[in-house]
Subunit: 349 residues, 2 copies
DNA sequence: TTTAGCACTCATTTCTCTCGAGTGCTAAAC
DNA sequence: GTTTAGCACTCGAGAGAAATGAGTGCTAAA
């Protein structure tokens, strides 16, 4: 059964008022905010209907009404006006996105902090491939007889490197052979496969090389496993404490621990640009009284990242969703064209 | 003026009891815990003295006593028994330290989390050079005509790498020259100097190379600046909320924001293995009611790291300090001999 | 110097009371 | 049939007031 347009309007006022004040909304306040003059008594009748239909709730008999998850859902789906970002805000976001990218992880963490600052709620960010990271290429650089630099390029255009030290002396001459070995036998495969390949080669490689080789492969395995593992970064968790619904320390602690545990955080449904999960729509117990707005973005061609905002159910869905989708869009663009800055013009005078 | 040994014993009981319970300690409780039977009345006389001398405080007339910062200080300096770690605990720490080290930052962050788990207080970790990081060596690897991998080795044996993409085509032939240029003119100097060197070369390098060169140098500058910046990682800040002294949400929020801001966190005095800062001994306002135990460790030859624990003034100094110093020691050892694992024996059957 | 005894203090807990925002219902007005 | 005004009613929040009890300070005796 469809709601009358007046009921919808009332629902909208209730949601928006409650978002702002975190206090139950009374009939009088609603009457004042409705266009067209309707008395508070009429509103009360409508409110009673809305409660009956499950869109609103009453904390106790003589309190105002607050939206139920069902009410929020309707609001999000139909009533919410696309929140347009002001020029100033847009610029702020753009600025944040142009932060010099040092490394992927850092950028992502930066972005999370920025977002948290912007919406005043905690955020979480996840970056990672689809679990099928493979080794693309390996290079070895000679440093001195006890150390070499290993450079690995993994799928998704990420590069990792490390200084390996060895007890056994290494000669510069060994490296080309080793490097060739690596690129011939170990590229294009995932972490699980690396170990097997190493075994296969154990007979056919000179022992002094094999030692080095296995060290390098072990490092590669580590890198791939880590890249495959979806790492989650959180930012601004302490903002929760500023919100009235988390003045209850135990509640705040439960949620913060959950965020810190970095497990089971909601991920957006495939395809949807921004997803909104309200209260009980969340799977995890710790989130049952909170809401999550989450968006995904693309990193390169075959990786996806994800950024989410966690807050009370009364969070300002319109504005958070707008910011988030704009932000995610920006991140996608940013990771898409990651090119050499050609800003400095070369002049020969 | 020296305290009588009985006064000291009383002080010790008060401190330890208060650490455990977070409640003011009454004369009766003390009497029960003192060896040799002394009546609570006698204790009260002694307590009055201790208050007068500034070692204890009374929240209000008819409450028990709690230690003042001065009292804690005496406890830490003289009364505290070196807390011996149990075998189980030692093993736990050892285990944590053997976590596979993926990258410096990760290890450090891991260590912080582990420590936080161990002492049940928030921790912060800092790693970084002495601000005088220099570029040691640069290598370039050809990927395809639009991208190259830049590998930089900075002082302290750290390696960083990145994939650079370019609009202009790059040929494999250009790289050796570029690499030679980099290693000849840009090694051994710090971030600030890099820009100047680039300027000096602007005339003498072919323009198409110069474009690439400046991109690489700009990346190098970034890396060095970041390495120089002392980055601070925190862990377990939410544990604060479990402690009675931070049930007051505003207090908790102040401290947590301070930790999140990652500024002005105490650093240990040079030389001392572990430093304990009690309440007002801390410089920053947000820490005036809390205490910090901080230790430093060595990373390689010319870098120092730092790990600190933040908690209420009644924190269990003995145990925290013991764990921390053991941990820091372990970290130093661990970073010291970072060698190739020679575990796998090579057999040719 | 130590101890027992007792009056006193004061934070905490419990309860009672009041206040008022907001409701539900009824009956009249539109 | 819908809207409105009016009024009794509910119930949480907040303010005191009173009871509680842990712990003290002081005095006088051991």
């Amino acid at each position: 059964m469809e709601l009358s347009s007046r009921k919808k309007q009332i629902l909208k006022v209730v949601v928006e008022d409650y978002i702002e004040t975190a206090e139950p909304v009374g009939s009088k306040v609603i009457a004042a905010q409705m266009e067209g003059k309707i008395s508070s008594a009429t509103i009360r009748n409508e409110l009673a209907d809305l409660v009956e239909m499950g869109y609103l709730e009453q904390p106790h008999t003589s309190a105002g009404r607050i939206p139920s998850p069902k009410g929020y859902r309707l609001y999000v789906n139909e009533l919410m006006e696309k929140h347009a970002l002001s020029v100033a805000e847009t610029e702020k976001i753009n600025e944040a996105l142009h932060i010099k990218m040092a490394e992927l992880d850092d950028v992502i963490s930066q972005a999370g902090q920025m977002m948290s600052l912007l919406v005043q709620y905690p955020t979480y960010m996840m970056a990672g491939g689809k679990g099928a990271e493979t080794l693309q290429r390996a290079e070895l650089l000679f440093v001195d007889e006890n150390s070499i630099i290993v450079v690995l390029m993994v799928s998704g255009s990420r590069v990792k490197s490390k200084l390996l030290k060895s007890d056994l002396p290494i000669t510069a001459e060994q490296l080309p052979a080793l490097s060739e070995l690596l690129n011939r036998h170990f590229t294009g495969i995932g972490a699980a496969e690396l170990g097997h390949r190493l075994m296969d080669l154990s007979g056919s490689v000179p022992p002094e090389l094999f030692l080095l080789l296995s060290a390098v492969v072990s490092y590669a395995t580590e890198i791939l496993e880590e890249a495959g593992k979806q790492e989650i970064i959180t930012a601004g968790t302490n903002r929760l404490l500023k919100l009235p619904e988390y003045r209850d320390v135990d509640k705040a602690h439960e949620l913060m621990s959950f965020l810190d545990s970095k497990k089971n955080l909601p991920i957006p449904a495939a395809g949807a640009p921004v997803e909104i999960l309200i209260g009980p729509e969340n799977v995890d117990q710790a989130l049952k009284d909170s809401s999550v707005v989450v968006a995904s973005y693309d990193i390169g061609d075959n990786m996806k990242g994800l950024i989410g905002v966690v807050g009370p159910t009364r969070m300002d869905y319109a504005s958070v969703a707008a910011r988030l989708s704009y932000f995610a869009e920006g991140l996608t663009k940013m990771f898409g064209k990651n090119e050499l800055p050609a800003k400095k013009e070369t002049k020969d005078e």
